[in-house]
Symmetry: C2
Subunit: 367 residues, 2 copies
């Protein structure tokens, strides 16, 4: 594909939909975007405090080569909205940096579907794309030592390997000062909640790697969780005044909750709810309780919101969840501790026994 | 390198210097960063209007494999500060998304030097790193058709090829509403200025490609322009009330000025100043005026600021430039036009004759 035709595709599938969404935004009476895409910078008028997060989403590392383009576009944005929601901030604006493999440029169909996935989610949450950069990316000729510094500019195109597609999204969200849900905010006695079951996305990964076989129905559930995570943005905003601490489950419940425990200097005990739900929903048989527990507590990529709140709010939290079509699950309690101890910070209570749960999860680097 | 030791290096060379710079920032009485690196989002208090830009900087595309790590760190940030300056905004905060080749992880020395280049420039301009994401990037097994969709997850490590290092920086700047330098702001009769000579960076590229031989002194000048562009941030801020339009010269003067002309519905005539300076500084002999003109008007990567202003400000602009240690060069004039015509928009006057200059420049995709 020529650079010229690629430029036309970027204009058609990214700049044009961004302008269209912005026109609608302005037509609805919003004056917060002074200048959209097309100059050296975009210009926006932000209110209150600004939450900022950046996430890179790379083929072969964060998603499988062969993943539907629509899912890639959806999730590259979703993981960033999730960071914003976990802060209690309302996502408003995003930039999109897209690196396309030079020797195997994505087809027009791929870019169209990526765009549909991206803008469908952006429009759902009234998030404006206000900037971006599209570049090529190529493989590099490496010295035989494997060192990262080579004197050659680029490797010649190979029939068998290419550079990956890579997407970096930066999100700006708004919130009132002192309203953020910090990882350090959990209090002894708090209930621990998640906005839905965990382990489904990790089950989809295991199935795609050929290490797990799910029923067709369970497979669909798992694929949907991996490819099209729904981010509880509105629900998170409704938790102001209720939630003490929050984090999104990206690397696995135990690892992410571990950040809350460490930064709050707290320990926690989990009930068996997540493991049981994972086992039931995915149809994993009784002998595989260990597998279900691994998926539910250590599997990443679910992008559920995990938060803590005082027990008096439990009824209200269930009602809010119902309002937003979610299934708020109480998964444990924050316990007082004098000194955070990584090895004893998280325990699982099952059948009257408690066992230590390691604060580890899914590692992108060793998948 | 294990994921664990890499995590330690990222902590040492990115998170720690960011915290250190933030502590100094707070010690100097600034209260605009409510929360730095370490939670789901950073939290900042921005004043006025916010300028936002994102740029990706990729090995093998935007910089040569083998470029000094310090230069890579410097320039990945510089190109973003340049966008901010070209808008007349004061750069305040940046996020850094770093993709490291999985099968040839950068050495500790590389990360240290990258970090030094990045933070040296950031600290110079009092810009805070407030967020980031470090991920691996790997080559992908491609189908022989070269299509972008493969059913394999990743290619096996190759002795001869690897994925490139890629850096995406997003910058947030502050400015007062209605003070931005827009590409659409040029007025008939305006002088056109740049903050220094152009074509040096492109000459360095040509020399590294083996297509041009420079003297040792000229080569150093060219290398410095390519690897360590200095961004006229303070000078740009001093142009409020003076500059009508501005853009940074990233893709080549003719192409970038062309954006101003197109968006301002204007034409322009250039004098021979840039070509002559390029010729003199680089020691390109008389017969090579065509080459000097190509480099000066179409060579990219110089990151000089190009702006327009009413002629009455000329003396003040020279004085300001002197204050900030720059060499403001008047390179032409904006002419009135009824209808922008791409083929006639830019002309070069030399020895009493004018010739049309195509609005094209350096193309990252076809370098």
């Amino acid at each position: 594909m020529s650079a010229q035709s690629e430029f036309a595709l970027i204009e058609k599938y990214f700049a044009a939909p961004a302008r269209e969404a912005l026109h609608k935004h302005i037509a609805h009476g919003h004056h917060d975007v002074a200048l959209g895409i097309g100059d050296d910078c975009a210009l926006v008028n932000l209110r209150g405090q600004t939450a900022i997060s950046t996430d890179t989403y790379t083929e072969g590392i964060h998603f499988f080569a062969g993943t539907a383009a629509r899912a890639v576009g959806h999730k590259a944005l979703a993981v960033n909205l999730s960071d914003c929601a976990a802060m209690g901030a309302k996502p408003r604006f995003v930039t999109l940096a897209l690196s396309l493999p030079a020797d195997a440029a994505p087809t027009a169909t791929f870019l169209r579907q990526f765009s549909e996935g991206f803008f469908s989610l952006a429009n759902q949450h009234h998030v404006q794309l206000i900037g971006g950069d599209t570049t090529r990316i190529n493989i590099i000729a490496a010295k035989s030592s494997g060192a990262s510094v080579s004197t050659k500019t680029r490797a010649s195109a190979s029939a068998t390997t290419r550079a990956p597609l890579s997407v970096t999204v930066t999100v700006l969200g708004e919130l009132e000062p002192k309203q953020a849900f910090l990882r350090s905010g959990a209090k002894a006695g708090d209930d621990i909640w998640v906005t839905g079951a965990t382990g489904f996305a990790a089950a989809a990964v295991q199935q795609r790697l050929g290490k797990l076989t799910l029923s067709r129905a369970a497979g669909r559930l798992a694929d949907e969780a991996l490819d099209y995570p729904q981010i509880p943005v509105q629900f998170a905003l409704a938790l102001h005044g209720i939630a003490h601490a929050a984090i999104d489950v990206s690397d696995g419940l135990a690892q992410d909750l571990g950040h809350i425990l460490q930064q709050s200097n707290a320990h926690a005990v989990l009930n068996d709810e997540l493991t049981q739900r994972c086992q039931t929903a995915l149809g994993i048989k009784g002998v595989d309780v260990t597998l279900a527990q691994q998926l539910a507590l250590h599997g990443g990529d679910d992008y559920q919101l995990c938060f803590t709140a005082a027990p008096k709010h439990a009824t209200h939290i269930h009602a809010l969840a119902q309002t937003y079509g979610l299934d708020a699950i109480k998964i444990g309690e924050i316990e007082p501790t004098e000194q955070f101890d990584r090895k004893r910070a998280l325990r699982l209570a099952r059948s009257g026994k408690t066992t230590a749960v390691p604060l580890k999860g899914f590692d992108h680097f060793t998948r």
